[in-house]
Each structure stands twice: as C-alpha cells, then as structure tokens.
Amino acid sequence: MGENVADEEIDLRGVLCPINFVKTKLKLEMMESGQVLEVTLDDGEPMRSVPRSIKEEGHKVIKVEQFDDGYKILVKKADS
C-alpha cells in the first residue's frame, strides 16, 4: 500500500482560479481522511495558488509530478 496511489482523480486543466481550488475542495469533502486525490493542474497561476490553498485547508501535498501538459499533484486528505 503506497500512499502515492490515488484513490480519486480530478483534472482541472483549463479551469481558472479560484474555481479549480473550489472543485478540489468539494472533491476532498466527499473523500475519507487519509485518502489521496490526484489533481491535474495547468502550470502558472493554478500551480501557484491551488497547492497553497490546499495547505491552508490543512491537507497535505505529498507529491508533485510534472508531465508534458501540466502537473499532477497528490493530495492526502487531512483528519477531520
């Protein structure tokens, strides 16, 4: 059981701030504590803002991975 395996995925490429964060937040709300969400984001403003907002909400970014069309970040849902 690696904690780097995503339980859920959400692709937010092309979605603007702060809607991308709101969608991430809503998705996380439907998940269990400790589960991992893979969020796909565009480079630039989304990568600047979304991970920071995730941290402010108390969740943890456990992995950041660049691929040819953006970034995939793995977010572990906080204990509620």
């Binding site: 480079d43 990568m47 600047r48 991970p51 920071r52 907002s53 941290k55 402010e56 943890k60 970014v61 456990i62 992995k63 950041v64």
Partner: protein, 296 residues
C-alpha cells in the same frame, strides 16, 4: 446659529483641528469622520448612516482616499448636533492640517491569507496614541500587511509594510519545487534534485514560499515591518526612501514618535518630511532615527 455660546466655542475648536471642510455650497461643509484603517463595525456603520441621513443636505456620503466616511453637505448650524450624535456612539471627527492624520491600513492578516503583519491593529494603536500630533505639514502613515502593499506605503510620509524572512531546512524538503512555482521574484530556483537555491537579493519577503511548502521546510525566521519614509502624492509626488527592514512590531509607535521628533527638529514649516530628506539628506535621518532600531 448655535443655541448657546459654549456650543459656539466647540464649533471653533472643531474647525481648527479640521475634519470640517468647506464646500462650494454656501454654509455647507463636509464632515470627515475618523475611521482608522477603514474598518467599520457594522452597528456603527448603521448609526453613521442614520446621522448622515438626518444632517446631509445633499443626501450622500463619500469614501475619502484615506478610508474615511465623509458626510457631504452638513450645514454649519448643525455641526454641534451632528458631532454630539456621532459622539454618542463613539464616532469622532477626523483631522486636516499639519499633524499626524488618521492612519490607513489594508485588511491586515486576520482574514486575508496574504497578510503577514497585523496592519489593522497597528493602525488602531497609532490612531489612539499619536493621532493629531502636530508637525510642519500633514503627516500620513499607512500599514500594508504584506509586500503587495495595497496601502501604498511608498506614497506615505511614513509607511510600514509587513515582511517575513524565509528560512529553509534540508531535512523536511522533498524537492517538490512548489516553492519555485510560488516565488514570483525568481528568488528561488530548483536545483537538479528539486531542492531550492535561494537568491536573497531578489527576495521581497512575502512568504509565498512558506505558504506553498507542503512539508514546512520553509519556515518564518522572523517577521516585522519594512519601513519607508518621505513619500507623498499630490502635485509633486515623491517615492518614499527605503529606511529599514524587519522593524519589530512593538517598536512601531516609538519609531513614529522618533521620526516626528526628528522632522520637527530638522524640517521647516510647510515642508513635508520628504522635502526635508532632499534638503538635509536621508542618510542623516537613517543615522539619527533608524539606526538604533536595526537589530544587530
């Protein structure tokens, strides 16, 4: 006409300290309220609205550029009654003239995620302790909680802007490169292994790296205020000089008092402190006022 002579005297004093501004319309004045940092309790806001409705002959308020509420079109004969009604719920009048004005501030760090320092709290303190202190010309102070500087500290006689000094530890760092993404200044560049190389000379001390870091490898080493002085706008704008970094929060009032003392001693009547700097040299001010505040 005032109903008694005592009230008439109050009028004069109030007029002298400012807060009542002559309008184009005969006998009508703008009454400028004292709203430090632009924060208004909602109950107070409703009460101000009631007073404005009663006494404004023109039916509107204006929000001043220094965050005050101004009641437009108050008749000179209504000053006493309006001031008294405002005072009943603790709403004082602002000032004009050669003195420390009502401090302005951004929203601060209570609800805004960018905020580093409590700009609102400082504005309240300065208003309480130093408002109205007389000097050679107007003296404007503002507080910005972070380097985005919404309170435009570079255009103030004395401006304070929140700063945080980021400190990086290797151990918790996973090399995720989010800090590089977060840094708008190019002060953080990820090395081959993803770990940050920090170029301090480019850092503006905003703390975005600290906020972005998922593992708290970046932490705040110290927080404080960047101090700028000698700025103004108006017909002949002047950008403030950078005076120092990381002034301790508890030293702000003392710094202002020392600055105004220096200005009163070195400036001349009718000149702003920036003009004094141009005449005697900002280095003299830095040496005589700022140096003792710089932590060694």
């Amino acid at each position: 006409m005032s109903e008694n002579t005592d009230a008439g005297k109050i009028d004069l004093n109030e007029l002298k300290s400012g807060g009542f501004i002559k309008q184009n319309q005969k006998d009508l004045f703008t009454v400028r309220l004292r709203v430090p940092g632009g924060r208004l309790d909602v109950d107070k806001m409703a009460k101000i609205a009631a007073v404005a409705k009663k006494y404004s002959k023109m039916g509107y308020c204006h929000l001043s550029f220094r965050q005050s509420v101004e009641i437009i079109g108050v008749h000179i004969d209504d000053f006493d009654a309006a001031v008294k009604e405002l005072a009943e719920f603790g709403q004082p009048i602002a000032s004009c003239g050669p003195r420390i004005r009502v401090p302005t501030a951004c929203g601060g760090n209570e609800y805004n995620p960018n905020g580093i320092m409590d700009a609102q709290k400082k504005a309240m303190e300065v208003d309480k302790e130093l408002f109205g202190t007389t000097c050679h010309h107007k003296f404007k102070i503002s507080f910005s909680a972070c380097p985005i500087d919404c309170a435009r500290t570079r255009g103030m006689d004395l401006g304070f802007q929140g700063v945080v000094d980021p400190h990086w530890k290797d151990d918790p760092c996973t090399g995720c490169t989010l800090c590089e993404k977060a840094c708008l200044e190019g002060a953080i560049v990820a090395a081959e292994d993803g770990k940050p190389i920090f170029y301090r000379e480019k850092c503006v001390y905003c703390g975005d790296c600290i906020k972005a870091c998922p593992t708290d490898a970046w932490t705040p080493k110290r927080k404080g205020w960047a101090v700028r002085a000698g700025g103004k706008h108006g017909r002949h704008p002047r950008t403030a000089d950078n005076i120092m970094l990381f002034l301790l929060d508890e030293k702000v009032l003392d710094f202002i008092s020392k600055t105004v003392e220096w200005y009163n001693a070195n400036g001349t009547r009718g000149e702003r402190i920036g003009t004094t700097f141009d005449r005697v040299g900002v280095e003299k001010y830095k040496e005589e006022v700022a140096r003792p505040f710089i932590e060694s």
